[in-house]
Symmetry: C2
Subunit: 393 residues, 2 copies
């Protein structure tokens, strides 16, 4: 083989990597990092700075010289703080050998997928869903299969029969988020139990994304999969400091996994990241130990945002919003007569300087939807909704 | 399929993941994080804290609210600072579209491997080499092939004929580090040119690990592969802030890549890490813009450490050290009559509380070697060498 002079180096990448679409929310939104006129409601990110007590814990750790390599599963202080934190919220205690600290929710998902899913395999994904899970499965050369939740007057519900029907002998995992992004939908315990039964019968992994679990407007924490699973069930729970502690740019998360995976995950952390920023992990300890008031503030901030946004949406005749979300930070709504959500987003961005995420990013069948993140100040949300009302007249 | 009740969840991982040895320097050295009696010379890490001006830049950025999601290829300020920094050191300018910021050198390597190497492929690795590259290739389900450098009175040299002979139609990349870890060996420009010719002829990628490039005792920077390659050559250069700026625990690095890969790497960053800690990247800007004195201090500190360690090693009759290293932070030496370097490391650790890394981690043929990291205070190194002299009597 010899390279033709006209070829770029891109031709040297693996075929399945080159086949992954490059478009995502972050690159549609590229200009938003600099254009201050745009109200950026497209990301899963609010406008609240990381609280000072977390920043101070990070700074102190840095000043104390906690800037060297550290444990691959996370510093013992943070793993212990997670054991204590989860012990207060969960029905069943989680032991330290089941916790691995990661550089955010995305690396947590990548580790789970990389450990279990290879080329030719598939992952069943419950959607509408955050697009990144599809991306990471495709990075492994594997296939994604979509099972769409049903939208009725009670909101989004999941039929586990449909999940079972989508699985085959190459299905390695079922992925879902509860509360969902973009739906805010919470999987009830009986549905979780059906999924666990399916996993036990088939050996298929459960990847439970619980990043929004503290952001329920109805309870302190939505039901965690860890409350029904046994330690050695094939269940991996993904969580992150990004949302409830406003640490999106920090990159800090954790996995709850079977204890038998502890050493393998340490090895995988070593070869993918060499561990999570050491001093940052002390910020995680502070977040867990001193952050309950902040977590409640964030949830309440989102609930208030939800009321402003959903109230306004309900006033726009073309908007279809079946039910107000009860958790997370998004409204996911349809616009009557709008089939191309990408074009709609670009139009709204151009005419109104409001950044929304197009529905087709969240799975097939969501092309007529838009996602708005309402974790923003009432002032900004009111302005955004005024602009939207005009744009969607 | 149904899971036997006796099985742990570990059996649900991919076969090639379970086949990767769990042993590495970090887990042999596990106790060292807490046992203060041990002189930990096994890691690729010194005892110098991250300099305050970098910590202050990180803290300021945090306080200014730079804690939100940011650009997938890195913040423009850091990419520009890298363009400026590299422009001063390299013969050819590097444009911003060729730079992607990563959460350390290891994620940089993982991105390069993940983009180009799949199951059934192989990577030719020039050793003795840092063991993590082998780990990341195996994570992808691919094979590693070793080409050992020759050790003579002139130190370690590479015969590119041997590299060419090790390549076949499934070879996707050739990996080497210059300066080498653990050898400190620098690849001369004519050898680099032969490797580039091989890449151009075969389409095989070059992964050039230049993490120690500023740590030469003979020149301001060892020759970079970017000085001989054209932008669209299949060349990816890996670098990191860990060593020259003493930022091991921070996790910050960068890639130099063909411009045609910029968008694909952004996509891959999104799905593997969602980007590098935002405020940390401002620390990288400070390191580049204000860090030249510190870089020189670190190199000099290592040179002094090298003199202490190599001087002492040369006094131990059983030790064979052909030539003092001229770069990086390691001495890699043989012990006459010692065949099992792991046992020797454990014995030395037990008898002397000195942590060394066993040679077999660095490739076949290195079983009779030990690696010592000399990026430590003269006081500590003198104590360590006194202990070693006794242990190796």
């Amino acid at each position: 083989m010899s390279i033709a002079p006209s070829q770029t180096a891109l031709s040297g990448l693996q075929d399945h990597i080159r086949a992954i679409p490059l478009e995502n929310i972050a690159n549609i939104a590229k200009d938003a990092f600099t254009n201050k006129e745009i109200l950026p409601l497209w990301f899963g990110e609010g406008d609240i700075k990381t609280p000072d007590f977390i920043g101070q814990a990070i700074t102190s750790a840095m000043q104390e010289g906690k800037g060297f390599y550290s444990h691959q599963n996370g510093i013992p202080e943070l793993r212990q703080a997670l054991v204590d934190y989860l012990g207060k919220l969960n029905a069943k205690p989680i032991t330290m050998d089941r916790i691995t600290v990661t550089s955010g929710g995305m690396p947590a998902i990548m580790l789970a997928v990389q450990a279990t899913v290879g080329r030719g395999d598939n992952v069943v994904i419950i959607d509408p869903v955050w697009p990144n899970i599809t991306g990471v499965v495709r990075l492994m050369g594997a296939e994604t299969r979509s099972v769409r939740m049903d939208l009725g007057d009670d909101g989004w519900t999941l039929d586990v029969e449909k999940v079972a029907a989508a699985c085959d002998s190459r299905t390695k995992a079922i992925f879902f988020a509860s509360p969902g992004n973009p739906t805010g939908a919470v999987l009830p315990v009986p549905v979780q139990k059906q999924l666990l039964e399916l996993s036990r019968k088939t050996g298929i992994w459960i990847f439970s994304d619980e990043v929004y679990s503290r952001m329920s407007y109805e309870m302190p924490m939505v039901p965690s999969f860890s409350d029904i699973a046994e330690p050695e069930d094939r269940v991996i729970i993904i969580n992150s400091f990004s949302k409830s502690w406003s640490m999106t740019g920090s990159r800090l998360g954790w996995l709850i996994h079977p204890p038998s995976l502890e050493a393998t995950l340490a090895m995988m952390v070593q070869y993918t990241s060499s561990g999570t920023t050491t001093y940052l992990q002390y910020g995680g300890v502070a977040a867990l130990q001193q952050g309950e008031d902040f977590v409640k503030f964030m949830t309440n901030y989102c609930r208030e945002g939800m009321e402003i946004v959903c109230g306004a949406l309900e006033d726009i005749p073309r908007v279809i919003l079946r039910r107000r979300p009860t958790a997370a930070m998004y409204a996911f709504f349809e616009i009557d007569g709008m089939a191309d959500s990408k074009q709609a987003c670009l139009d709204i961005l151009r005419s109104s300087n409001v950044g929304l995420a197009p529905g087709y990013f969240f799975g097939k069948g969501s092309e007529s939807f838009l996602r708005i993140c309402y974790c923003r100040s009432p002032e900004q949300l009111n302005i955004a909704m005024e602009r939207l009302k005009k744009a969607l007249k």
